[in-house]
Structures are given as structure tokens and as C-alpha cells.
Symmetry: C2
Subunit: 343 residues, 2 copies
């Protein structure tokens, strides 16, 4: 019998992980008492390839229903967590899966996808990623119509890897609150491994919270000062400063924990098939490359303890650990008409 923290009433939501769908990772979630994980299903896969990735998750839910279940609504998250399992929210880290077909947004939502990041590092039909030298913003034709459609059918927009102008445009253009599931405030982090462009400006973060959005503060070595040497106190201090910047209702967690992938897959995330000039991507064995207080999601209790130790009240801690994401997911996953009817 696995030792779990499922009896813990605190809802813990991790707004970004990219695991292979496998029992090993699901068991870590249970050990860590993780109520819900937003997992990445696809980054560069086209529509047809994405169907195959979704089918792998479908099979995982069938095989490991004692540990995990797919969540289609905020209520699902609470119900699955109450049953002592981890709720899985399916998402894309790019809009490559929808190619340039507005109908595929609703089609993939029908298949369970609830979060779509508009761009992954590069420019696409919808906007630009942070790796581009120039960011023309949310594209004026398909970009706007795609956000309208996500708003309409109930898909949460994610802007984590987008460029600055695309981020600002999408926050302003979207009629419903959006998310930055895994990033940090640029003003709080010196010399991040991914470079400052991957972090968010104060202007973008203030706009995000002003429109009801949520930021997933991220302990990933490449997004914090001091990398793997960052202490738990460094991380909870980063959370506290993010709360000061955006308000306690706009802050959640998004670990960007991506374990179990071979080096070739990590290279694929960066370079896919668009480049032959593939830089070597460092590979980590599971539980390597993370701070000693967060070797894996099984260590989530350390973060819970750290937040309490930092002086957050119980209600603040619960908002940061999962309450804010639950509120946003509850709202954003509903189709627009139903969301209006409920409000």
C-alpha cells in the first residue's frame, strides 16, 4: 500500500508537468498528495500525431484508474481528489495540434483538452514565442479568431512560452481570464538559465492579474536564480514577491517537472523538425536536475511546509497551492454560454 497524503484537505494543483503517461509518475503524485496536474499532451505534433498522444493518455487512464483520472471540469478535480486519486487536466504547449483549423479547437476539447498555450518558443499562425527576435503580437486574423473560439468553447489560454507582445495582446484581447501556467516574474529572477525572455515582464503580470488570470510560479532550475542551488526559502520568497506584485488571488504553482524523457525527446521539444542545427540538450535522470527539497512531485509537502513557514496564512496557502487554479479552471473550462448562465 502506497503511503499517500490524499487525506490532506488542502487541494494541491500543479499547473504544468510533462510526464510520460506512466505509473511511476502517478505514484509520485499520490505520495506528494497532488490533487491535480495539468499535463502536456503535445508541443510540435500536428493534428494526426496529437490523436496518437491523446490515445496514450486514454490508455493510461484505463490502466491506472486507481491512481489517476481525467478532469474535464473544476468539479471533476475536486471529486477525483476526494477519491484519493490525482485529477489530470490535458493541455497543449503549442497550437501545432490545431494546425490552422478553427474547428480543431472544439474537436480537441471534445477529446478532453482544456488548456492550450498559443505558441511554443517560435512564431506560428497565432502569435510569436519568446525565442523570436520580432514578435508581431497575436495575429490579427487567425490569432484573434482562435482566442475567440477558445473563449467560446471553454479552453483556457496559456501564454507561458509566448513573446512579450503576444502575451500582452492575448491578455487584452481574450474576453475571459487567461493563464501563465509556468513562468516567473522577470524582475525577481537574475540570470535565469532560459534567459530573461522566458520570464514575464511586470507589465504583463499586472495585466494578467488585473483581468483575473493566474501565474504558476515555477521552481524549474532554468527559471529561478541559483538554478538547482536555489533553497526552499529562495522559492517561497519568490512566491511571496509574486504575491506582492500580483495579489494573492493571482498566484499558483507550476513546476514544469518533465521527467522520464530521453535526451532525444528533450531535443525534439526545442528543435522539433524545424531546425537541423540542434544544440545538445542536457539530459537528466529522473529526480536529477532539481533542488533537494523538490526532487520530484512526491516532495510537494516540502513546498506546503515552506509556504506556511514563510508566514502565509492558511487561506493564503490554500489559494496558492490550488485554490486559485481551481477557481480559474472552474470558470475557464466551461463553454462561454454556460459560464454566463452560471454567473
Amino acid at each position: 500500500m502506497l503511503k499517500t497524503n490524499s487525506s490532506n484537505a488542502t487541494l494541491i494543483i500543479d499547473a504544468l508537468q510533462y510526464p510520460l503517461p506512466g505509473r511511476r509518475w502517478f505514484e509520485e503524485w499520490r505520495v506528494g498528495g497532488v490533487s491535480c496536474v495539468h499535463v502536456t499532451v503535445a508541443i510540435w505534433e500536428n493534428a494526426s500525431e496529437t490523436l496518437q498522444r491523446l490515445a496514450l493518455w486514454r490508455q493510461a487512464f484505463a490502466d491506472h484508474g486507481d491512481l489517476v483520472a481525467v478532469a474535464l471540469t473544476g468539479n471533476d478535480i475536486e471529486a477525483i481528489a476526494s477519491s484519493g486519486r490525482t485529477a489530470v487536466v490535458l493541455g497543449f504547449q503549442n497550437t501545432a495540434p490545431i494546425e490552422h483549423d478553427i474547428e480543431l479547437i472544439g474537436t480537441f476539447r471534445d477529446l478532453g483538452v482544456r488548456i492550450m498555450q498559443l505558441t511554443y518558443n517560435l512564431q506560428n499562425y497565432i502569435g510569436a514565442g519568446y525565442w523570436e527576435a520580432n514578435d508581431g503580437g497575436l495575429s490579427s486574423r487567425f490569432g484573434r479568431q482562435a482566442v475567440d473560439e477558445m473563449n467560446r468553447v471553454g479552453v483556457l489560454v496559456d501564454l507561458s512560452h509566448c513573446g512579450e507582445r503576444t502575451t500582452l495582446d492575448a491578455i487584452e484581447y481574450s474576453s475571459r481570464p487567461v493563464s501563465i501556467t509556468h513562468s516567473n516574474a522577470r524582475e525577481h529572477v537574475l540570470n535565469p538559465g532560459f534567459g530573461p525572455g522566458r520570464l514575464k515582464t511586470t507589465e504583463a503580470l499586472k495585466a494578467l492579474s488585473a483581468r483575473g488570470g493566474v501565474l504558476g510560479v515555477c521552481p524549474n532550475r532554468s527559471l529561478v536564480a541559483n538554478g538547482t542551488k536555489a533553497t526552499l526559502e529562495d522559492f517561497t520568497e519568490l512566491v511571496a514577491r509574486s504575491v506582492d506584485l500580483m495579489g494573492v488571488d493571482a498566484i499558483g504553482l507550476g513546476t514544469d517537472y518533465c521527467a522520464g524523457h530521453p535526451a532525444a525527446v528533450r531535443t525534439w521539444w526545442r528543435y522539433a523538425r524545424w531546425s537541423r542545427e540542434k544544440a545538445e540538450i542536457p539530459s537528466f535522470a529522473p529526480h536529477e536536475g532539481w533542488q533537494d527539497w523538490f526532487r520530484s512531485p512526491a516532495d510537494f509537502p516540502n513546498i506546503v511546509q515552506g509556504l506556511r513557514h514563510r508566514g502565509f496564512s492558511e487561506i493564503e496557502t490554500q489559494k496558492i497551492l490550488g485554490g486559485n487554479w481551481l477557481r480559474l479552471f472552474n470558470e475557464a473550462f466551461e463553454p462561454a454560454q454556460r459560464a454566463k448562465a452560471v454567473a
Copy 2:
């Protein structure tokens, strides 16, 4: 026996048509004495769908080998024309077929594709089209690498539907001359049906010719003043002013003749699957919607006569009718290493 002008020594190259692959159109080419046509194979089709479009052309070459043959080199064009048939150059009006896969540029070249327009009206992975409110230029990652790859394998870059900054960037970035197969000079055309954005600025056209590129001057009703009422003299005057602007070595013809498609297909070109807000696209029966001196490519002899009547010398006329395109195609369709070895 079809009456043809194939004995005419003048090489006539039309740098853009989008016909359905069918005998009716091939017969018009022969009547008009057209030596070579660059045809559009795909606009919004993804890689898999484009394979199906190419297969239709493959079958057409098998079925109608008495009238047409595929041209893979400039020499092919001359040989096919000498045999009394029309040489067909295969091209894309968008980079949707290559998705975001740099290898697919060479793969589609292996299948006969020799010209790729970087964007069709909208933004994509590589750049922005003229319909976008913002054009961030040739994208700094995949955009540049895609142009490098087209340069390397021998695919001619086409910028006809691109936005201004993408057009300027690609002309400057490409190590080999590029093309604008079907557009006109913005300074020469008032109130074009497609709007001024679809026409090219003086800055872009001067940059194009300075780098050895060629413009296909276009009689399409939506790209000229007075639409279907434009006279042959209006058109030859437009050619003459284009020659004044860019030099006689930079001017060819690109009719944008797109016959035989039902209205639903014309709507698809504009809106594909990216939009549900589809404006009604006017549909034309074959030979409708064109000036009375160019009801179809069978009327190419009228343009030949018009150019001579306008006062172009024989050598100038031959350059404009096909010589300039032949020079550029000869150069651009060769892989970079072979092109260097020949030079």
C-alpha cells in the same frame, strides 16, 4: 487537330496560374502558344493533403502527355516547349504543406515542387501575409532556416502574397534571387480590388530587382486599375512603367489565371479552415471576369502583339514574355552547390 502557336520561337512563361489539372486548360495553353506555366499545387493543404494534390498532377501528366509535361529545370522548359507542349512548374502558394518541418522542403522538391510562396495572406511559422495588421517579418528561427534550405536545395522563394516587412526581409536575407510571381507596383495601380497591401511597394520592387529577382506583372482584375475594364494598352503601359521602375531584366508576366474552380474552392483559398466568418467570394464561369483581350491563356498572342505595339524591341519583348523567368528558373531550381559549380 488543335491550332497551336507552338512553332513560335518566342518563349512565353506565365509565372502563376491555379488551374485544376485538366485537359481543357492544357488545350488553351497550346492555343495560346504558352511555353511554360507555374501552377499552384497547394495553398492551405498540410503535408499529407499536399501529397494527394501532387498525385492529381502526376496523373494529369500521364493522361495528357501530348499537351503537357512537368519541368524540373530550365532546360526542361526549353525542351518541352520545343516539343510543342507546355512545361508545367509545380509550386505552392503557402508553406502550409511543409508544416514546420525543414526536411519537407527537400522532400517536396524531390516530388517536383520548385517554387514556394512563404505566406498566403496570413501569418504562419515563416512570416506574415499582407492581410495581417502586423508583420513581424521573416521569422528569426524557422523563417530564416527555411529560406536557407530553399536556397540550398534549389526552391525559388515567392513573395507575392507576403506582407511588406516579410517581403523586404526575405529579399535581403535570401542568398539567391527571389521572385514575386504575381503582383504589381503599388505606385502604378490606384484602387486595386484586393487593396493596396496586395501590391508591392517601390522599396520592395527596387530591392527585388537589385538582388536579381523578377516580378510577374499581373492583369488579374483585382490587381489592376479599372479591373475587367482595363484595356490591353493599360496593361502594356503597366508593363512599361514596371520596366522603368525595375529594369527590363526584372520584368515577366504572371496572370493569376485561376479557372474552373467552384465558388466553394475560391472561398477555401481565402478562409480555408481558419475562419467561420466567410465572406461571399464572387464566382466566375470560365473566361468570365477577365478583360476581353485576355479571356483565357489562349489569348496570350494579344499580349505579345500589345507589347510589340507598345514599342518594346524584340529582345525586350522576349525577356518580358519568358526570357527573364527562364533565366531565374534556370538558376533558382539548381541546388546551391551545383549552381556554384556551373557559375
